[in-house]
Homo-oligomer: 200 residues x 2
């Protein structure tokens, strides 16, 4: 069994959301699993010197239009939540807490969080919202809320972000296939081709 | 005859070069002409707040690798010239000088300049190099050198850059199809689909 492809994303990244709607099916077509790896762009920006997308004049205007246009092309819903960008710390902690017990459930939670956020436009930054979404998947609401303040969970997220930076991840989404990195929802076709051909 | 699609690029942009190798054939498949429109990213950065790609840690490392990988995928040569990035003022002035007389010749010159730069890794920033490349296409070397210092030509470039910013162009390449903007060499597939379908 070949190793999983790495899917690095920030829950507050619209392009991460778009990629999340395709990544598992894409990998499955080539017999691969996907390791979902949320990180925090804010922490990466401190290393990369970049800023949130919509902070850039011109580029921000383009991005707002492009998010929805790209979503239509993929046939998925898109609503930019308010506020945007938002803090994805609670969502990311919940993911790593659950991943430590059951990776598949953590991925299901990630999908549900992304759907709530960019599919429905909900604000998923509050811990209570993350807990409610987790509860809708059958998880224990109180356990989720406790986990979000657990120092071990905070540390797990901190280390995950450090690992992403150490891998060279600077944007969301980033897919790594057998050591080869692809940045951007618009590179998934290249990811698929790389999987097909083993490189070019 | 539908209007040409606009191809905005900086001669010092590797992704502009990559797109330049595909744009005319892509447009021709849909019965469209291409209006080549060089601009200067440096001037746009003053508005957009962005910086040259390789100035960003992590992202710069990725880009260096990606330039060559993307070129291999397209089946075109790629050599990063030294210095990089470089000043594309002379190349851009030569383009607009020639475009004022003969648009097709200006496009031929643009292709030759891009090929010299990223195909062969030559430094095309000096006026003398631009004049030599123009001369290899049968243009008068002395006339090119004179044009590069002509205030009217300088003004033509300045106005072209202003128009690009006014159109919302913030990166290279940017393709505008019937008012719809697409940024990035990796969006040419979306450009082609937009041309096929008239939107989605």
């Amino acid at each position: 069994m070949p190793p999983p492809i790495e899917f690095h994303f920030d829950f507050s990244s619209p392009y991460g959301y778009l990629a999340s709607t395709r990544i598992d099916a894409l990998a499955a077509r080539r017999g691969r699993a996907v390791a979902w790896r949320p990180f925090l762009l804010g922490a990466v920006f401190k290393v990369s010197g970049m800023a949130p997308l919509l902070d850039y004049p011109l580029k921000g205007d383009y991005a707002r239009r492009d998010f929805a246009r790209f979503a239509r092309l993929l046939g998925v819903g898109f609503t930019l939540p308010t506020p945007f960008p938002f803090a994805a710390v609670a969502a990311s902690r919940a993911f790593y807490w659950l991943a430590g017990r059951d990776e598949a459930s953590a991925v299901a939670l990630a999908r549900a969080l992304y759907h709530a956020s960019y599919g429905e436009g909900r604000d998923i930054s509050p811990a209570e919202t993350v807990a409610s979404i987790a509860a809708s998947l059958g998880l224990d609401r109180a356990a989720v809320l406790a986990a979000l303040n657990d120092p071990a969970v905070k540390e797990a997220l901190r280390q995950a972000v450090e690992r992403a930076v150490a891998r060279g991840v600077f944007g969301s989404p980033t897919v790594i296939v057998d050591g080869e990195m692809f940045w951007g929802a618009d590179r998934l076709d290249q990811v698929e081709r790389w999987l097909e051909t083993g490189g070019w």
